[in-house]
């Protein structure tokens, strides 16, 4: 296993963990079935790409056409990607989350995901259509050589910092009184409104925060793989992340991390190992097709036999509870 391969694995893991933490906040904690999650990752990636690419008439980049091309230095593309994810959440949330019942919300978001992908694929002048953007300059590539081992370690470190930051943010939200209001809304929205919670405001906030985090995950990924095209953010990518959150444990941040490592990362690895060791069988492409079958079975299996996931949502027990000696709520020193 060479360094580049290890870096590839770790950065994909980091990106998937960040995405799953955001999806867990939206779906696991707040009950928003965001079937267009991958679109928010994609908008972050495209934004980061056009912020770091030079204009599309620059020699060496003129085989593609795209808007923007601002050549901005790191970390602006990453921040821009995160902001773009949050900005996209505003109009989408206002249309989808205000009036629709939650099952229709899920359908509307799924349709949005398909439409967005189709539009970007076919409107070539916007983001180079189906071919997508390539040669996206990695962060700091004007100062450092991206093809060195040291750069790989740097990228891993940057990704790790983002993972820690995102984990801290979602943990603070989930384990706060605000997180409790989100869970109450998930359990019974009408009753939450009856005790003074504004369900639309709660959902919009979570949708935007999740959009920001998803956008960041896209920015990190595009800086590393240096290309981004409609084929990498088809709607089934969202289903993989849902599988991860369900397997890991809805409502549990550690569960979301475990799920990210087990499902997207784990599946990629298994197929890769099977392919490279010539254990392939059947026609080409069979293994990756079976991967989808396996993910479907995984979701159904967990929902049937262990709906709470590997790491279930914790039951919050407060210090001084009469039936237990567990202590959770203590004043920090």
């Amino acid at each position: 296993m060479n360094t580049y391969y290890a870096a590839n694995l770790l950065i994909y893991a980091g990106v998937d963990i960040i995405a799953c933490l955001a999806l867990n906040l939206q779906f696991g904690v707040s009950g928003i079935v965001n079937f267009s999650f991958i679109v928010f990752q994609a908008v972050g990636a495209y934004t980061a790409a056009v912020l770091s690419l030079p204009p599309d008439h620059t020699p060496g980049f003129d085989y593609q056409i795209y808007v923007g091309g601002y050549q901005l230095p790191f970390p602006i593309p990453w921040l821009g990607g995160a902001i773009a994810g949050g900005l996209l959440a505003v109009p989408v949330g206002l249309v989808v989350l205000r009036k629709l019942r939650s099952d229709y919300q899920a359908i509307a978001l799924l349709v949005l995901s398909v439409i967005t992908n189709q539009v970007i694929t076919n409107a070539r002048p916007f983001l180079n259509g189906a071919a997508g953007l390539a040669s996206v300059p990695p962060p700091l590539s004007s100062q450092l050589d991206p093809n060195t081992e040291r750069y790989q370690y740097l990228y891993i470190a940057l990704t790790a910092v983002c993972v820690v930051l995102v984990f801290a943010v979602v943990n603070r939200i989930v384990n706060s009184p605000y997180g409790r209001s989100l869970r109450a809304m998930r359990e019974r929205e009408l009753a939450a409104a009856a005790i003074g919670k504004n369900p639309v405001a709660l959902k919009m906030t979570v949708f935007i925060v999740g959009g920001v985090i998803a956008g960041l995950s896209g920015a990190i990924l595009v800086g590393f793989i240096q290309l981004w095209a409609p084929s990498v953010w088809l709607y089934p990518e969202t289903i993989i992340l849902f599988a991860a959150v369900i397997v890991g444990g809805r409502g549990n941040n550690i569960g979301a991390i475990l799920g990210a490592l087990l499902v997207p990362v784990g599946f990629e690895e298994v197929t890769r190992v099977l392919n490279t060791n010539n254990l392939n069988f059947g026609p080409p492409g069979l293994l990756s097709a079976l991967q989808w079958v396996a993910i479907g079975l995984l979701i159904i299996g967990f929902l049937w036999f262990r709906p709470e996931g590997v790491r279930p949502e914790p039951r919050r027990v407060f210090a001084g509870s009469p039936d237990t000696v567990e202590v959770e709520l203590v004043r920090p020193a």
Binding site: V169, R172, I173, N175, S176, P177, Y178, G179, R180, S181, R183, A184, E187, R188, L190, A191, A192, A193, A194, I195, G196, K197, N198, P199, T205, V209, G251, E313, R315, R316, V317, F318, S321, P322, D323, T324, L329, R331, P332
Partner: protein, 257 residues
């Protein structure tokens, strides 16, 4: 913020509620005086629960006005009415199942610094004092309602009667000015019915205003200072239970339905 001293706390004037041509509530006017328990009775399908939902803002009124403590709240969303102190409960159990009993109470408490995105991001140190104060307040309620031993259990695992109590306690965490109770005794063991009756009487003694929809006339007689009677979306009478019993047509409407 109180209304004029001689004004009822909650006044609904000529409220209508239509569902695609069906007049569930057809011009109902009721008044809920401060510090009393007011009953709303009538046969199944009379529109009692719809009136309650319109008063609480769960359903918007098709027409009519609702004034709470001198303020027109007809257009206010449900959550904003709850924040003003007009808090409802539901006919069907509506606990937050995957929250513990204690959390069901805590989540309803206003004025917790950690109950906003900003407060949450600032961290536990910022909101822990509010949280500890509210835990004490919630535990006092749990003791009063005899449910202390259950505080760390998931609310979804409680019995029907316990869920009723949770919902009443949850409403009380908002320090309501007026409670709207939708059949608080329905589907509850007779012993628990007596408990709930006792609690409601003690809340009234503390000055809480209550409007309750109820089927069980014996309970209405014991609890309610005055009663409104509905049938087929309209108000057909009001007064004390004793005076209503003497009105032939009301007894008929109720019994014939």
């Amino acid at each position: 913020m109180s209304g004029l001293p001689d004004q009822p706390m909650l006044v609904a004037d000529d409220i209508h509620r239509h569902f695609e041509g069906m007049h569930a509530v057809d011009g109902v006017s009721i008044e809920v005086p401060e510090g009393q328990i007011t009953g709303l009775i009538g046969p199944n399908g009379a529109g009692k629960s719809t009136v309650l939902a319109v008063l609480a803002g769960t359903l918007p009124a098709s027409s009519g006005t609702i004034v709470f403590e001198g303020r027109d709240i007809t257009r206010l969303a449900a959550y904003r009415r709850a924040r003003l102190g007009l808090v409802r409960t539901f006919q069907l159990p509506s606990e937050f199942a995957r929250l513990t009993v204690l959390e069901n109470l805590l989540v309803a408490a206003p004025r917790n610094r950690g109950d906003s995105l900003f407060g949450a991001l600032l961290g536990k140190r910022y909101w822990i004092d509010d949280e500890l104060r509210l835990v004490d307040e919630a535990r006092a309620l749990l003791r009063r309602f005899g449910m202390s031993a259950k505080e760390s259990d998931y609310a979804g695992l409680m019995s029907g009667g316990q869920k009723r109590l949770i919902e009443i306690m949850r409403a009380l965490m908002l320090h309501p000015r007026c409670l709207l109770l939708d059949e608080p005794m329905s589907g509850v063991h007779p012993r628990v019915v007596e408990e709930i009756r006792y609690y409601l009487q003690s809340l009234r003694a503390e000055g809480l205003t209550i409007l309750m929809v109820e089927h069980e006339l014996r309970l209405v007689e014991q609890l309610c200072d005055s009663v409104f009677v509905m049938a087929q979306g309209k108000l057909i009478g009001s007064g004390t239970m004793a005076s209503l019993r003497r009105q032939r047509e009301i007894v008929d409407a109720y019994l014939v339905g």
